[in-house]
Symmetry: C2
Subunit: 495 residues, 2 copies
C-alpha cells in the first residue's frame, strides 16, 4: 500500500519555484469555474502520520487558492454539544455547499483508527465503523460531492530522521515531545491498522491517494496537482452527460519521474554455480513443503505477472520441477473465451481454485483487469478503478479459506527486454515466443509501468503482499521466487 510513498521522492528548489506559479494560476482558475458552475462540491480529507506535513500542506492550499471559498476544518475531541449528537454530526455540518471546497483535517477516519491502534476496539468493530464510512461516502458521491482522500505517509526511518533532526536543532528542539517518541514506538502497529483501514475504504469512486510526506516541496506539488487534476476532470464531466458514481479522480503520475519500478536495482548478482547449488536446495525444500502434513489443510496459489520476456515461464518451470504433477496445475491466462466473457471477469479464476493440498500457478491472472485491460482500454476507468477493491476482497476470501497466495511481479529493464526480444528472433526454437504484439506492448512501456505501480500500491496488502523480483539476471530471479514461496509456506505452517 505504501510502496510508492517510500522510495524517497524529491523536488529540487528550482523545479519547485518554476512549477508553483503556473499551478497556482490553474488552481485559482479551476476554483473559480467550480464556484461559477456550482455543479458539485469538493471534500478533501487530510489524514496520515504526524509529521508528514498535513498541516503545512493545508496552509499552502489556503495560500494558493482563494481562501474565501475554501473552508478548512480541524476536529479535536468532541465538545459537549457534539457528543450529545451522532458522532458524524460535526462532520455532516462541515460539508461545503456546491461550488466550494471543504478541507477536513482529522475526520471520520481519525477516531476509529486511533481507537484500534490503542486496542480500545476490536477488529470487527473497526470493520463496522469502516462499513458505515463506506456507506456514508458512497452517499456523498451520489450527492454530487467530489471526494479526494489524501493519506500522508512517512517511512519508519523517515519518521525517526525527522524527530532527530528537529531535536538536533536548538531552534526546533521544543517541537519534539515525549508523546512524539511514544508515537514512534507505535509506528508499526499504526501502519498495520492504517493499511487495513485504507484497504477497506479505497473504493473505485473514492480511492485513497498516498502522499510521500518526506519532502515538503514534493508533497506540496503532489497534492496541488492531484487536486487540480481531479477538479479539472470533474469540471469537464459536469458539462457532459455525466454518469454519477464514476467520479474517481485520476491517479496522478509521479512528478519526478521516479517510481517504484524504475528505482529498483534490477541487476542483481548471482553466478551459475551458486545458482545451481541454491536451486537444488530450494527445490528440495519446496518438495518437502508441498508434501508436508500441514499442507493437507492449506492450498497454494501463485500469481506470476511481469513484462514480456521477463522470465515467468522459466521461473514457473523451476517451481514445478520440484512438485508432484498430481498436485499442481499451471493455468496460462490469455484472451478470455466466449464462455468466460459471459460471466463476471473473476469467474475464469474462480473456476480454477485449488482445494487443500493442491497448487495452482497462474501465468498471468486477474490482475489483467488493471494492467492490459486498463492500458488497452478494454474496460472503462470506472471498471478498473473498482477492480482494486474487488480483487482485495477476492484475495481476502482465498486467504480466509486457507490458501497461501503469493504474487510475483518480474521486473526487467527496457534494455534487457530489447536484448531478449532480439535474441529470441535469432534463435529458431524461440522465435515462436516473440510476436508483433510483444513489440506493440513495448511501445506502451510507460503506460504499463504506471499501471504496475498503481497495482502494487493498491493491492499489496498485509494479507496478500506483492513480491517484486529484480529479474534482469534470470538466476537471481528464479532463486528469489523459489525462496519466497518456501518462506511463505513455512510462515503459513507456523515455522
Amino acid at each position: 500500500m505504501f510502496e510508492s510513498a517510500e522510495i524517497g521522492h524529491k523536488t529540487s528548489k528550482s523545479d519547485y519555484d518554476e512549477a508553483v506559479p503556473a499551478l497556482r494560476a490553474e488552481l485559482l482558475d479551476a476554483q473559480f469555474e467550480l464556484l461559477e458552475r456550482k455543479g458539485f462540491s469538493v471534500v478533501v480529507l487530510i489524514n496520515g502520520i504526524d509529521g508528514a506535513g498535513k498541516g503545512e500542506t493545508v496552509n499552502l492550499l489556503n495560500e494558493w487558492m482563494d481562501p474565501r471559498h475554501i473552508e478548512a476544518w480541524a476536529f479535536d475531541a468532541p465538545t459537549a454539544e457534539e457528543s450529545e449528537r451522532p458522532h458524524m454530526w460535526r462532520f455532516w455540518r462541515a460539508l461545503p455547499p456546491k461550488g466550494k471546497i471543504g478541507v477536513l483535517f482529522g475526520n471520520w477516519y481519525t477516531t476509529p483508527i486511533n481507537e484500534r491502534v490503542a486496542k480500545q476496539i476490536k477488529e470487527s468493530e473497526l470493520d463496522q465503523h469502516l462499513d458505515e464510512v463506506n456507506r456514508f461516502e458512497s452517499m456523498l458521491v451520489r450527492e454530487n460531492v467530489l471526494l479526494i482522500k489524501f493519506w500522508f505517509h512517512l517511512s519508519k526511518k523517515g519518521q525517526k530522521k525527522r524527530l532527530e533532526s528537529l531535536e538536533n536543532d536548538p531552534k526546533t528542539r521544543w517541537r519534539v515531545t515525549d508523546a512524539d517518541w511514544h508515537f514512534y514506538t507505535l509506528y508499526d502497529r499504526y501502519r498495520e491498522v492504517a493499511e487495513h483501514a485504507l484497504r477497506r475504504t479505497s473504493t473505485g469512486e473514492a480511492p485513497w491517494l498516498i502522499v510521500d510526506g518526506s519532502d515538503p516541496r514534493f508533497r506540496a506539488l503532489f497534492v496541488g496537482r492531484t487536486l487540480l487534476g481531479a477538479l479539472r476532470k470533474r469540471l469537464e464531466l459536469t458539462g457532459q452527460n455525466w454518469v454519477q458514481r464514476q467520479t474517481a479522480p485520476p491517479l496522478p503520475p509521479a512528478l519526478d519521474q521516479r517510481n517504484f519500478l524504475n528505482t529498483l536495482e534490477l541487476d542483481q548478482p548471482l553466478g551459475k554455480s551458486d545458482y545451481n547449488e541454491l536451486l537444488e536446495a530450494l527445490q528440495g525444500r519446496l518438495a518437502l513443503l508441498t508434501r508436508d502434513p500441514a499442507f493437507t489443510t492449506r492450498s497454494l496459489i501463485l500469481v506470476f505477472e511481469g513484462s514480456d520476456a521477463a522470465g515467468k515461464g522459466g521461473a514457473i518451470r523451476r517451481m514445478t520441477a520440484a512438485m508432484d504433477v498430481r498436485r499442481y496445475r499451471v493455468i496460462p491466462i490469455g484472451a478470455p473465451t466466449d464462455e468466460e466473457l459471459a460471466k463476471p471477469y473473476l469467474w475464469r479464476f474462480w473456476r480454477q481454485l485449488p482445494r487443500w493440498g493442491k497448487v495452482v500457478i497462474f501465468d498471468r491472472s486477474w490482475y489483467g483487469r488493471v494492467l492490459v485491460e486498463r492500458v488497452e482500454g478494454f474496460c472503462s476507468e470506472a471498471d478498473w478503478m473498482r477492480a482494486y477493491a474487488e480483487i482485495n476482497d477476492f484475495e481476502d476470501e482465498l486467504v480466509d479459506a486457507g490458501a497461501v497466495v503469493v504474487k510475483f511481479w518480474l521486473a526487467i529493464s527496457k534494455d534487457e527486454q530489447l536484448a531478449r526480444f532480439q535474441a529470441r528472433e535469432q534463435e529458431p526454437h524461440k522465435r515462436f515466443k516473440i510476436t508483433d504484439e510483444d513489440w506493440r506492448n513495448r511501445e506502451k512501456w510507460d503506460d504499463y509501468e504506471r499501471a504496475v505501480c498503481d497495482m502494487i500500491d493498491r493491492t499489496s496488502t498485509e494479507i496478500s503482499p506483492w513480491t517484486v523480483v529484480e529479474a534482469n539476471n534470470k538466476y537471481y530471479s528464479r532463486i528469489k521466487v523459489l525462496r519466497t514461496v518456501c518462506e511463505r509456506l513455512e510462515a503459513a505452517f507456523g515455522r
Copy 2:
C-alpha cells in the same frame, strides 16, 4: 419491513386462471429476448421462512419458463470439495452466463442468518458477513447481473396455522416434524435477525422484495410479475444508453389492490369526553417524562408525515402543549432553500438535530425524498431507491447517539380528506390552509399510497419503527400519537 406481507393478500382461483396464460407467454417472450441479446444475466435469490412456498414457487417458474435457460441451484451443507475453498466458491460457480437465469435457492444469506439465529456468531460478525455480501452484490451489479432478491414471509400466526392444518389432514401429517415445531418456537428471533439482515442489504441497486407467502396463488403471481417487470425494464434500458448500477427492479404494485393502508380501519371510536380525559392524563405523563432525569442523556425526535389534512398540526399542538417551550422546536419542512439545495439532501435535517434533553418535531421530514420527490419526479428513481438505505443508516446513527426516534404516518380515507378540504374552504379562518396544490396532490392519491406503503415496508425497522395512526377520528388520532410517544420514552428509560 414485513408490514405489507402480513395483511393477508389473496388471489381467487378464477383471477389466477385468467392471469396465468398471459403471464407465462410474456415471461417466455422476455426470456427469449434475454437469450437473444445476451446483454446481462439474471440471478434470482430465493430466501425466507420455511413453509412460505419457496420450493413451490421455484418449481412453478421452471414450469412457466423454458427450463433449458433457467438453472436452479439448491445448496445444502458444503461438501468436502466446497469446504476446502472460499465459502463463496459454490455460489461463484453457480452464476449464470449472460442471456440466462439462475435461481439460487439457499445462498449467501442462508448460513450467516442461521448462524446468528443459533447465536453461533455475534452481531458484529454477522455485520461483517453482510458487508462482504454487499460488496459482492455490488460487484455483480456492475458486472451486468440483474439481481432480484425475494424474501418469502409468513406471519407467526400464519406459520402456526399452516403447521396445524398440515397436521390435521391425515394425508399431510407426515410432513410436519418436530424440527418444524422447534423452528416455530424460534420464529421471533428468526424474524428479528432476518429483519436486521434485510435492512443492511437492501440497497438501491439490489433491494429486497418481500413476498407474502400465505396464499399460493398470490405469491406465484407476485413472483412471476415482479420477475417479468424487472426483466422488461432492464431489457428496455439495455437498448438505451444504460447507466450501470441503476438497475433496481421496479417495486411491484399490489396485485389484489390491497395494501397496508387501504386495509386499515381508519374510523376508530373515541368520544369527546373520553378524549378530554385521556388527553389530560397523557399530557401530564409526557410533561413528566420530558422533565425526567433519565431524559438528560436522551433526545427525542418526532417525525410527522401524513396525507394533506390528516391532522398533523393538531396532533403536534397537543404534544407541545405538554412541553416547556425551551425544550422543543417544531421544524416545518417545505420546499428546500437555495442553501439547502447546495448540500446533500439530509443536510437540512442534520442541522436541526437536538442535543440531549431536547425535543425536535419535524412536520414533514427526510421522508419527502421517497414521497413527494418520488411521486413528483423531483429526483431520479436511482436517487429515491438508494434513499431507503441512507435513511436507515441515518436513523441508526440517531439511535446510537441516544435519540428516541418516533415516526408517525397519519392516515385518513379519501372521502374524509374531501370532507376536510371542503370544510376548510368554507371556514374563512381556515381557508389559507387549502391551496391548489392540495387538490393536485389529491389527484395523485394512488401514487402517494404506493409510495407510502413502500416507505413503511423499507424503513420500519427494529430500531426505528413506523407508527401508523388511523386518523379519520381526530380525537383517536391525537391520543394514539401522545400515547405512543409516552410509551416509547418509557421503554427508552427502561420502565
